[in-house]
């Protein structure tokens, strides 16, 4: 029995004209000390997956099927109150940016202390304060800064404070939702290092959500690549990096800027993730895929295993793990339109930059 077992998770959002399948059949296990990356472009369902695990889906969202088990206990059927008691004690989350994730009118120390007093009624104020100081030290902030407000912290410090807060009740699992986005590269590296150190020291299990495969490569042992709510590929970070099977994973690696290489932005991925209220049929990546075949429009490819823990959901990958090339399908008009619109937008942006500023 794994610490966290997610099986065939599906999450839907009710919107005015229909439902959005934001997460569609995602499965993974997490053991103590594991670090798992959830990777994909924004809008691919990474954050929704995290919120579903935390039981924090917005009012119009729900887990429509599948299961989330924590130490064998099913979380999706818990009452609000029961779920509330798991939060922070077993599962905590570090939100994106931390700019707005901290209450601007409350002292940072008080915010870190809040869950301690809430979940551990036996702990006195004084004790809790001492613990906050230790947590601050642990993440590398001087404890005197407890009395400061979030706006007096730098971006990196806010992120550290957020991590201190996440560790306040000694959780088993910490989810980092883009914890280093919007930080400069130096600070990013420090934060990732900190997370890695804490994982090793405290035996935490970490789920790291990011759009940046290089972050995952540095920090995680395994990763799950998602596209438009569906699993694209999963495996060790080494596998994904050295032997990416899914065309999308390949593209993601291609879009990672290489710090050591020449300073350009890589190939990028043309087009945008699809509208999840009306996704393309079959494999949702097919309109943007260089290897799409007729079957890709017909049905979603069941994930197939390629060695220990390495699985991919793609019709275009043959038995030997090679990609069939090139694209057989005509490029869809909508994709053409998107590409054209992007090209024009880029042109306009260039033109505006060239123009004298009034």
């Amino acid at each position: 029995m794994a610490l966290l077992e997610v099986r065939d998770l599906r999450v839907e959002f009710g919107i005015q004209d229909g439902t959005v399948k934001a997460v569609d059949g995602v499965s993974f296990d997490l053991e103590p000390g594991d670090s798992l990356g959830l990777v994909g472009e924004s809008g691919c369902g990474k954050t929704t997956t995290a919120l579903a695990i935390m039981g924090l889906l917005p009012a119009n969202g729900r887990v429509s099927s599948g299961s989330i088990k924590l130490n064998g206990e099913e979380l999706t059927t818990l009452s609000k109150k029961e779920m509330r008691l798991h939060r922070w004690r077993d599962l905590s989350i570090i939100f994106q940016g931390a700019m707005n994730a901290l209450n601007p009118v409350q002292r940072v120390g008080d915010q870190v202390r809040e869950p301690i007093l809430l979940h551990e009624p036996g702990v006195s104020y004084k004790e809790a304060n001492r613990r906050v100081s230790r947590l601050f030290e642990l993440v590398g902030i001087e404890p005197e800064r407890k009395k400061r407000y979030p706006h007096e912290f730098s971006g990196g410090m806010r992120q550290r404070a957020m991590i201190a807060m996440a560790l306040a009740c000694n959780p088993k699992i910490v989810i980092g939702d883009e914890p280093t986005t919007a930080l400069d590269v130096m600070v990013q590296a420090q934060i990732l290092e900190l997370l890695e150190r804490l994982r090793a020291e405290l035996g935490l299990a970490i789920i790291l959500i990011t759009h940046d495969l290089s972050v995952v490569a540095e920090t995680c042992t395994r990763a799950l690549v998602m596209y438009a709510g569906q699993l694209a590929e999963t495996g060790t970070t080494v596998d994904l990096h050295d032997r990416p099977l899914h065309p999308y994973t390949g593209r993601l690696i291609g879009s990672v800027p290489d710090i050591d290489g020449p300073r350009d932005l890589g190939a990028g991925i043309p087009g945008r993730p699809p509208d999840l209220a009306d996704p393309p049929p079959g494999c949702r990546f097919n309109p943007r895929c260089d290897h799409a075949m007729a079957v890709c429009v017909e049905r979603y490819p069941e994930p197939r295993s390629f060695g220990a823990g390495h699985a991919v959901a793609c019709h275009a990958v043959d038995e030997a793990g090679r990609l069939r090339a090139p694209r057989e399908l005509p490029v869809l008009p909508s994709a053409v339109a998107v590409l054209e619109a992007e090209r024009r937008a880029a042109e306009i942006a260039d033109a505006m930059l060239a123009e004298p500023v009034a």
Binding site: G43, T48, A59, A358
Partner: protein
């Protein structure tokens, strides 16, 4: 010309969206009723009676729907005629106020620098001055009449518009076509008229719906306080007349309930339409596009916000 073309374009673009907004349609229906009452009604019911035409203080009957007042006038006839005056005051005053507000806003926002600072200083001064108190004092000085009331309402209610239009102008100024027009050698006033105005026009239009409501509100209050319309009849003056004639103690509620209710309905109608415009103009309030649906934030409600950005505007304008 430009303005008219802008108007046509804005309406053409907005209508399909407007039609889908229930508050907007309800507001438009209420308004259509009162516009009909105000501008067709007088031809049907005839002019206001001179004093003493009928017996005094009659109760409502089939012949006199609202009864008669203390001078023997038919109150229903007065009510219909008043509708016209209230509407005209509201429309003309807010049109004037729009012209002042839009001019100040565009010039301040576009010119920037000292001009902007000076104009905004004046705007802010008018902005903090309590509208009603200033209006009472001004009408007391100028004397109560329909034209003075229009003037006073226009003078007191433009600052909100000026601030909104200025903000919009500031963002329009950054766009590429302004720089291009400048490169072609267009002068400031030409750019403001040809390029900035059309781009803030839909905002001006949406704002007008709100100011007409508050102009009618202000006219009613001024007339009730005896510093508004004295040379003709408006809903506010009917209320003043009923109050000073003792309708409250006489138990003649038909004298003051209909005009008050009419004012409330008209203002609600404008507020509802303003809401609809707000939804149309503010993309944040519209349903979001599919792309970011998957990653719905903690507040996943994607429906339109009923009040949205409307509120601060409305508050400012009273």
């Amino acid at each position: 010309m430009n303005a008219i073309r802008g108007l046509g374009r804005s309406i053409g673009r907005a209508w399909p969206l407007f039609r889908r907004s229930r508050p907007g349609v309800v507001g438009l229906a209420i308004l259509a009723f009162f516009v009909l009452l105000a501008f067709a009604g007088p031809f049907v019911v005839g002019p206001i009676d001179g004093p003493g035409k009928y017996p005094l203080l009659l109760d409502p009957s089939a012949e006199h729907l609202f009864g008669t007042d203390r001078a023997g006038r038919d109150l229903f006839r007065t009510f219909v005629q008043s509708a016209q005056v209230s509407m005209i005051v509201g429309i003309v005053a807010s049109a004037l106020s729009m012209v002042i507000g839009a001019t100040v806003g565009i010039v301040a926002g576009f010119t920037g620098g000292r001009t902007d600072g000076g104009l905004m200083r004046v705007t802010d001064l008018f902005y903090v001055l309590p509208t009603l108190v200033l209006a009472v004092v001004l009408t007391a000085i100028l004397g109560p009449s329909m034209s003075n009331v229009i003037l006073v309402i226009a003078i007191t209610s433009w600052p909100g518009t000026a601030r909104i239009i200025r903000a919009q102008t500031l963002s329009v100024r950054q766009r590429a076509f302004i720089a291009r027009a400048r490169a072609y050698g267009a002068g400031n006033s030409r750019i403001m008229l040809k390029h900035v105005l059309p781009n803030v026009f839909s905002l001006i239009l949406a704002n007008t719906t709100l100011t007409i409501g508050s102009a009618i509100f202000l006219e009613t209050t001024l007339s009730f306080l005896g510093v508004g319309v004295k040379d003709t009849w408006s809903w506010g003056r009917m209320l003043e007349e009923s109050f000073s004639a003792g309708a409250l103690t006489l138990g003649k509620w038909v004298w003051f309930v209909p005009p008050g209710l009419a004012v409330v309905l008209v203002i609600v109608a404008f507020t509802l339409m303003g809401q609809a415009f707000d939804e149309i103009l503010d993309p944040r309030l519209r349903r979001r596009d599919g792309a970011d649906r998957g990653e719905a934030g903690p507040d996943g409600d994607l429906g339109g916000e009923p009040l949205g950005g409307l509120l601060p505007v409305a508050v400012d304008q009273r």
